[in-house]
Symmetry: D2
Subunit: 266 residues, 4 copies
Amino acid sequence: EAPFVLIAGPCQIESLQQATEVADALHGIATKLGIGLIYKSSFDKANRTSINGARGVGMAQGLDILSQVRARFGMPVLTDVHQPDQCAPVAEVADVLQIPAFLCRQTDLLLAAGQTGAAVNIKKGQFLAPWDMANVAAKVASTGNDRIMLCERGTSFGYNTLVNDMRALPIMAGTGHPVIYDATHSVQQPGGLGSASGGQRVFAPILARAALAIGVAGLFIETHPDPDTAPSDGATMLPLECMEDLLTTLLRYDRLTKQNPPDVII
Amino acid sequence: EAPFVLIAGPCQIESLQQATEVADALHGIATKLGIGLIYKSSFDKANRTSINGARGVGMAQGLDILSQVRARFGMPVLTDVHQPDQCAPVAEVADVLQIPAFLCRQTDLLLAAGQTGAAVNIKKGQFLAPWDMANVAAKVASTGNDRIMLCERGTSFGYNTLVNDMRALPIMAGTGHPVIYDATHSVQQPGGLGSASGGQRVFAPILARAALAIGVAGLFIETHPDPDTAPSDGATMLPLECMEDLLTTLLRYDRLTKQNPPDVII
Amino acid sequence: EAPFVLIAGPCQIESLQQATEVADALHGIATKLGIGLIYKSSFDKANRTSINGARGVGMAQGLDILSQVRARFGMPVLTDVHQPDQCAPVAEVADVLQIPAFLCRQTDLLLAAGQTGAAVNIKKGQFLAPWDMANVAAKVASTGNDRIMLCERGTSFGYNTLVNDMRALPIMAGTGHPVIYDATHSVQQPGGLGSASGGQRVFAPILARAALAIGVAGLFIETHPDPDTAPSDGATMLPLECMEDLLTTLLRYDRLTKQNPPDVII
Amino acid sequence: EAPFVLIAGPCQIESLQQATEVADALHGIATKLGIGLIYKSSFDKANRTSINGARGVGMAQGLDILSQVRARFGMPVLTDVHQPDQCAPVAEVADVLQIPAFLCRQTDLLLAAGQTGAAVNIKKGQFLAPWDMANVAAKVASTGNDRIMLCERGTSFGYNTLVNDMRALPIMAGTGHPVIYDATHSVQQPGGLGSASGGQRVFAPILARAALAIGVAGLFIETHPDPDTAPSDGATMLPLECMEDLLTTLLRYDRLTKQNPPDVII
C-alpha cells in the first residue's frame, strides 16, 4: 500500500529562487522515501490578522512560479483560492485547489472549484464540527467532481487557541473522501501575537505521528528554509532541514497503521 | 441621548411584497417608539449549511427591492456582501454594507467595503476573540472610512453551539467603534439540524436585554411574519408580531443604562 | 416584589475584626437599600491553585467568627463545605451551606448538606452544562430538603478562562429552584497567574447587570476592603467602598426586570 | 526498554467473582505480552450524574475484593479515593491511589494520598489546562512522596463533550512525572444521556494509538466482560474479549515510539 501523500512547501511564494530551492529539497526527500509529494505555496494571504501582514506576490506571478516548479520537478502543485473567479485560472496551473478554512462554507467558491475538475482540498473551518464537513463536501460533489480531500487543521478552543479533536479524522473519513492532517496550522495560535498569529512549531511533529497512528491519507506540513524570517506563519512552519528525518520517522507510523488498520466505522 | 439603533428585517429578501410588509411594520414600530431603524435583508445566503439551502433572489433583484423599500419608507438599508466586486454596486443602494462573520478577516472584502464610503457593519467571526476585532476594523479604517460598526453574534463553544461572552461588548467598544449585539444569530446552533442550522429563538429577547444592560449602540434582530416557514434562519428569527412589545421593553433597559453608564474602560 | 438577595463578603475569613468591619458595612448598605443580605465568607480554601496559597483560619475559628457576625447583625451567614462530615457542625452556625463548583457532583457531600435541613447553594461546576444541574439538585432534594439554590459562576472555555453562558440562568431556573449569579468568580481566570488564579474584576459589575436584566433571585459578590492585599481572589473581589453605588444601580435593573418579567419557559 | 504500563479493569467492583474473572483474563494477556499491569476498579462511584446511579459495593467489601485479587495474581491494584480519611485504609491494600478528576485540586485529599507513601495517579481535571497540573503534583510532592502519575482524560469542550488536547501529554511530562493516557474516560460524554454519561467507545482504541505515537508511560483502559450491562460507564468501557488484540497492536506503537523518541522539550 502506498505511503501517505505529503502536501508541503512554504506558507507563501516568496520568489522563484526560493520556491525552486524548497521544491528541490522536498522533491529529493520524497523521491528518496517513496512519498507522493504535492508542492504547496500561496500566492496571496488573503486573510492576514493585520492589514500590515505581507500579502504575497499575487496571482499572476505566483502562478508563473508554481508552473515553473511544476514543470521542472514534474510534481503536482496546490495553492489556495479565495474568490470564485480565481478558480479557473488557478486550475490551469494547479493540480489541487485549496479552500481556506474560513471560506469552507462559501458555496460559490466551492462550486467554482469543483467545476474546474481539479482536485479540491477543503480545510475544515475552525468553527465547524467534523460531521459538518459532509455538507461542505457535497457542495463540491454537486458539480460532478468527487476529487475531494478534507483537511483537519484545528478547531476553536477558547480564545486564540486551536485544538485537534483527533476523532475528526475517522469522522471525516466516513464521508468516503481522503483525509489530510495539517500539522502546522493545527499548532497555530490565531491572533496570539496581537497583530499576527503565533504558534507552537514544537508540537507539529508529534501531532503528525498521532494522526498517522489513527490513519490519514496525507499530511500537510508547511516548511521553510528559515521559518523565523518568513513573512507569514513563521511560528508554525518546520525548518526545511528537519524534514527528511521527520518524514523518515512519520513513514514508520504510516506503515505500522497500514499493517494494523483500525476498524472504526462511523 | 438617543435610543439604540435597530437593525432588523427578515434573514433573506423573499419578495417585494414581503419586504414591504415587514418594512412597513418595523417602520411603524420604530417611528412610534422613536428608535432609529436600519432595514436589513440579504439578497444571497452565500454560505448555507447545505447545497440545498435556499440562496435567495440574487443581487440584481435584491438591490431593486431594497431600493424600493428605502425610497418608500425613507429609511437606511443594510445588506451583506460576499465578494469585493459586490461592494460598489451594493453601496449604490445600501447605506450599510455588512461583512459576514466567516468573512471578517478577508482583507480585500474589507477594503472594498471601506472604499465605498458606506458604513460597514462587521460581524465578529465565531473563531475570533473580541480583541482580535481591532485588527479587523483597522483594515476598513485603512481606507479612510471610519464609519465602522462591530457586531457580536456568538463565539464557537464546542460543536454546533455558540456562546456570547458578554465581555466582548465593552472590549470591542474599546476600539472606539459602535458595537451592535446580534440577538438572533447568537442563538443559532450552527449545523445543529444536520443539513441546516438550528436555533433557540426563545433566548434572543433575554440576551438582548443583557446586552442593553451592559450597553450597546445597536441591536440586530432578524424578524419574519412567520419564522417557521422562512427559507433560512427560521429557528432563530423572532415573529414580527412580537417586535413592538419586545422593543418597548428593550428600550427601558437601554434608557436605564444610559442613565447609569457603566465605567468599564478597557 | 422583594429585591434580589445579596450574598456577599470577603473570599476568606481573615479575622473577627475584618469580618465585623465588612459585615457592618454590608449590613448598613443592605438595610439602607432594602436588600436581603446573606454574609458569605470561607473558613477554608480547600482547593487553592498552589500548595502555597493561604488556606484560611480553619473550621473552628471560622465558625466562631461567623456565629459572632450572625449574632451581632442578625443576618444569615453562608459558608462552604468540602467534606460530608463538615455539614452538620457548619449547619449549627450557617444558614446556608455552599457546595463548591468542583464538588458539585460529590453525592455524599450533597446528601450530607441536604440532611442538615439548612439551605444549600450549589455552584454549577465549570465542567457542567446548565441542564446537568437538575440531576445535581435532585441529589439534595432526595433528602427531603428542597431549600436549594443553583449558582452560575462560569463554564470552562479553552484554557484558564471561563465564560458565562447567560442562557444558563433561565435554564437552571427551569428546575424551580432560585438561581444566583456569582459575578466575581465568573470573571476568574483559573490558574491564570501560574501559581494562582487571576481575574478581571472590571467586568463583574456589568455582568451582574446583565444577569439582573435576564432575572435572577440573587447575586453573589465577593468584596474586600482592599482586594489587592487579600489572601485569595484579590483579582476578582470588588472593593467594599464601591458596593453601595454598585448595588444602587443593580437594584434598578432588578426592579425593571420585575416590572417586565421575561416569558422564557424552558 | 519496558513497554507501557496498563491500568485496566472494570469501572466498578461488582463482585469477587467478576473481579477475579476480569483480573484473570487481564493477567493472562499482560503476562503473555510482557506488559506491566495494574488492576483498576472502584469501590464507590462518588459523583454519579444522578442520585439513581449505582454507587458500588463500598469501601470495606471493595478493599476485601481488591486484596484478594492482589494476592491471587500478585499484581498491584489501583482504586480511587474521595475523602482524605479514606487514603490510609485504602493504601493498606492498594498500591496506587487515584485522585478523581473533579477532585484534583482538593488539597487535603492530595496531601493525605501523598502521606500514605503509595503511588498517586492524578486525573487532570476537565477544567484544567495541562500546565496547571504542575501545581497539582506539587501538592502531593510536598509530602515527600514523588511517586506521582498524571493522567489525561479529556478537557471540557462546550457542553456534554470532552476533547483530548494531545499536546497535554508532553506538557504534563515536562513535570518529570510519568503520564498516563486514559482512553476510555476521554471518550465520555458527561451527562450526555440526561441522567447518565454517554460515550463513544469506538474511538478509544485509536486515541490510545495516538497517545502511544506521541509517547506515554502508561494507558488506562476500563474493560468489562459485557459493557452494555455494566452499572456505570458502559458506553465507554471496552469489551474484555477485545483487549488482547487491542493491546497487541498498541504495543507495536509503543515500541515504535521508543525506537523513535520525539524530542519535544517543553
